[in-house]
Symmetry: C2
Subunit: 442 residues, 2 copies
C-alpha cells in the first residue's frame, strides 16, 4: 500500500504511478467501449487491487475494474484545498452570540480529495467563508469536539456533547447549534433532550444530506436556518433543523424526542413521528406550529443530567427471533431491554419465558412498536395483557430509538429499579404525546 | 383460578361470584365517584387478583382496580354466541372459485366473550352469514389451517401456508385469499412471494385492524375486496389487500415484498415502501397502478419453493450496540445476518471486527437501512466502502423485514454460499425496485 495512493495496491497502483496521477486529479478511464471521467479518490484499506475509484461529476463514486484493456489518462490536475479564509467580516457586537458545537458528519466537513479524509471546516472563519450569510445573523463561536461519522457516535459522545453545550449555555449564549451526521442524529437529539433540562435557550441540531462540494448541497440552507433559530427562536427546546421538503424554501424544526431519519438520501429525510413539528422557518421567519412549547427565558437555570448507562439494549422482534438473545443480554449484565414489538405491542409467545426470566432478574423490559407510527394498546388482545401481567412496561407512542436512549439515560440516573421504571414512563421531554381525538377514530 | 371466570382470583372472583355475574354479562362498577359499564371479559392468567376487566361500549378494554369501596352490579345478561348460519344462499356455479386459507388474526375471528378465546369464524357458511355479499362474488372454499395471533406465526407456518395455497392453485381456483393477523402480515406476504413462483392466479393476503364486533370494523370491506381480487384481478402476484385510507371507499393492493405495517391501529396501516402500490379497488372495480406486473394466466404452472431456514437473524444497529451479538449468532450456528444499519448502509466502526469474523466463518452478512425509505449507497462514504470490502452484501432498497425473510428463504434453497449470495441480490419477486429519476434528484 502506498501513502500517496491510500488503498491502492498492485495493478491499480502501477497504472496510476505510470500515469503520474495523484489523488484529486481528474482521470479519464477507457475500458472496451466504456468511458469514465472523474476525480481520483482514495480507496478503502480493505479493498482489492483490481479497482480504481473515481468521483463522477454527479457526485457519485464508482469503482472501475481494471482489465487488460483498461487505459488511464490524467486530464486535469487536482485543485489544492482552498480554505484560505477571506478577511473576517466586521464583528457586529449587537448580534446574538451563537455557539456551534461540531461533532462531525457531512455538514461539518468538506471532502478533502488529497487525503480522502473528511476535513473539518468549522472554525468561525471557515464558516464565514463558506456561508457568509452567517455573519449577518450572529456572532459565532465554533468548536470542533469530534470529527466523527455519526454511526461512530456512542452514548459517551452524547455525554460530552451535552456537557459542552451546557458550558456554552452557562456562558450566556443566545443558543447552541450542534452539527452532527444525519445517520444517528435522531438518537443524539433524544439524548440531549433528556440530558439538558430546564433549558433557557434553544439547542438546534443540524446536519446535511449532501456535502458542501455537491451542487445540490443542503448544508448552507440548513446551517443558516439552525443559526437563525439558535439566535432568535422563541422556543427553548432541543430540536433538529432540516429541509422540510426537497426544496430549499422552508426549514422545519422537529422535537428531539419525536424525530426519525426516514429516508436514506432525501434532503427532507427527518420526520416528526406521532406529533406536529415544533416550528417552521420561511423567508427567515420562524412560525411556531404547536402551542405548548417551552419558551426562551434567560432567567431559567439549566439542569444538566448527562449520564447514560450503556447496559440497555434494543431487541427488534420478528418471526423466528431466537428468544435466547434476551437471556444473553441478561447474562451480559444488561439492566434494561427495549422490545421493538409488532402492532399494538406484541411479541411471539415463544419469547414470554425468557422475558419473564429477565424481569425476575431485575432487568427492565419495556415495549415499543416497530410500526413506528401510532400508540401501543397492550390491553386489546390477550397476549398484550399477558405481557403486561408479566411486567413488561408499555411505552405509549414513544419511538423505539427514543425509548432506548431514554432507558440508557434513566439507568444513568438511578440504581433503584422502581424509580427507574417510574422515570421511564414519566413524560420528561415530550417523548410521549397526549392522546388525541383523531387516534380514537382512525 | 376458576374455569367459569378465567383469570379471576381472590377478591375479584368473590365479588363476581356474589353478584352471579358471568363472563359476557354487562356489569356496572361503582367506585368512589367513578362509574364504569361494560361487558365482563376474561383476564390474563398472569394477572393479579385486584382488577376486573370490562370491554367498554367504545370497544376498548379497561381494568378496574377493586378497593373497599367497589360495588358491582349485573345489569345485563351476556348474549349467547350467535353463529347460527342462515340458509346458505343458492350456489351460483358460474361464479369463480376462490379458496380462503385462514391462519388466524382479527379478521378470521369473533371474540367469544364466554370463553375469552378467539372463535374462528371461517367456515364457508359462517362467512356467508357474516358477509353475505361474498356469495355474489365467488363460490368459496374456506379452510382454517391455524388460529394464531400473527405474532406467533413463525417460518414453519409460512411453509405450511405456502403448501396449502399451492394445493388450491393446483386444483384450479381463480385465486386464493389468505386471512392473517396484521402484526406480521408483511413478513408472511414476503415469504409467500418467494415461495410461490410463476403464479397463474392472484394470492391475496387480508387482515383487519378492528374485529368484526366493533362498530368501526374494517373486516368485511377488506374481505370483500380480497375475494373480489382473488376472483377477478388481472394480476397474478402475492398482494396485501387493506384500506387505502381511513374511509371504506377504496381497498389498496400492495406487493408482498414491498409492504410494511406502519401504524399500530389505523385501518390504512399498510404502506407500499419505495414503490407504487400494485392496484386499487373502488366501487368494486380494480384499477392497476403500475404497468409491469405479472398477468393472470391459467396456462402458467406454479413453482413451489416453500423451505425456509431459521438460522438467519436481523440485527438492528444503534449507538452503543454490543458488537458481540454478532459473534453470539455465529456461535449459535447462524448462517446469515441482516444488518439494519443507519442511513445509506452504515454501522459503527466498533462492529467491523465481529462482522469480518462472521464473514470469515462463512456467515452471509447483508445490509439494509433502518430509514425504511430510500436506497443504500455504500460507495458514498469511506465506512460504507470499508464494509463492502469486508464482504457485506448491500441490498439496494429492500425492506429490512423482506431482506430477513428472503435470507431465510435463500438459505432454505441452497447450501452453497456463493449461490446463496447471488440469489440474495437477484430480484426474485420485485423486492428490489429499479432506480428512478426522482431518486437521483431528491
Amino acid at each position: 500500500m502506498s501513502k500517496e495512493f491510500p488503498g491502492y495496491r498492485g495493478k491499480a497502483l502501477q497504472l496510476l504511478k505510470k500515469e503520474k496521477a495523484e489523488i484529486g486529479d481528474i482521470i479519464h478511464i477507457k475500458k472496451d467501449k466504456e468511458v469514465y471521467e472523474g476525480v481520483l479518490i482514495p480507496r478503502s484499506e480493505y479493498g482489492d487491487d483490481k479497482h480504481i475509484v473515481i468521483k463522477l461529476k454527479s457526485g457519485y463514486n464508482i469503482g472501475v475494474e481494471i482489465t487488460h484493456a483498461t487505459q488511464i489518462k490524467k486530464i486535469g490536475v487536482g485543485a489544492k484545498p482552498a480554505f484560505t479564509p477571506p478577511p473576517l467580516p466586521k464583528q457586529k457586537p449587537d448580534l446574538p452570540k451563537v455557539a456551534i458545537v461540531s461533532t462531525g458528519g457531512t455538514i461539518a466537513s468538506r471532502v478533502d480529495y488529497r487525503t480522502g479524509g473528511v476535513r473539518p471546516a468549522l472554525t468561525a472563519s471557515d464558516l464565514y467563508s463558506v456561508v457568509p450569510e452567517l455573519s449577518e445573523i450572529a456572532t459565532i463561536d465554533a468548536k470542533i469536539i469530534f470529527s466523527l461519522f455519526s454511526e461512530n457516535i456512542t452514548p459517551k459522545h452524547w455525554t460530552k456533547t451535552a456537557k459542552v453545550t451546557a458550558k456554552h449555555i452557562e456562558n450566556g449564549v443566545a443558543g447552541v447549534v450542534v452539527a452532527h451526521g444525519t445517520d444517528t442524529m435522531g438518537y443524539t437529539a433524544a439524548a440531549l433532550s433528556f440530558a439538558l433540562q430546564n433549558l433557557p435557550v434553544p439547542v438546534i441540531m443540524v446536519g446535511s444530506q449532501r456535502s458542501a462540494d455537491r451542487p445540490s448541497s443542503d448544508a448552507a440552507t440548513n446551517l443558516i436556518g439552525a443559526v437563525r433559530a439558535a439566535a432568535n427562536a422563541p422556543f427553548a427546546e432541543v430540536a433538529v433543523a432540516m429541509h422540510e421538503t426537497v426544496s430549499d424554501k422552508t426549514i422545519i424544526f422537529h422535537r428531539g424526542t419525536k424525530v426519525r431519519k426516514c429516508h436514506t438520501s432525501r434532503r427532507d429525510t427527518f420526520k416528526s413521528i406521532n406529533t406536529t413539528p415544533l416550528a417552521r422557518m420561511k423567508n427567515g421567519q420562524i412560525e411556531m406550529l404547536i402551542k405548548n412549547y417551552r419558551k426562551r427565558s434567560s432567567s431559567q437555570k439549566l439542569i444538566l443530567k448527562p449520564n447514560f448507562n450503556e447496559k440497555a439494549a434494543l431487541v427488534k422482534f420478528y418471526p423466528g427471533l431466537n428468544p435466547n438473545i434476551i437471556e444473553w443480554y441478561v447474562n451480559e449484565g444488561y439492566r434494561g431491554i427495549i422490545l421493538e414489538g409488532t402492532g399494538l405491542g406484541h411479541v411471539g409467545k415463544y419469547c414470554f419465558s425468557t422475558i419473564r426470566n429477565a424481569i425476575e432478574n431485575n432487568v427492565i423490559v419495556a415495549m415499543t412498536s416497530q410500526c413506528i407510527w401510532g400508540r401501543l394498546g397492550m390491553n386489546v388482545y390477550d397476549q398484550g395483557r399477558d405481557l403486561l401481567a408479566i411486567g413488561v412496561v408499555p411505552l405509549e407512542d414513544m419511538l423505539p430509538e427514543t425509548a432506548l436512549v431514554k432507558l440508557m439515560w434513566v439507568l444513568g440516573q438511578t440504581k433503584d429499579i422502581a424509580e427507574a421504571k417510574s422515570l421511564l414512563t414519566t413524560n420528561v421531554a415530550n417523548e410521549i404525546s397526549p392522546r388525541t381525538q383523531a387516534e380514537e377514530t382512525a
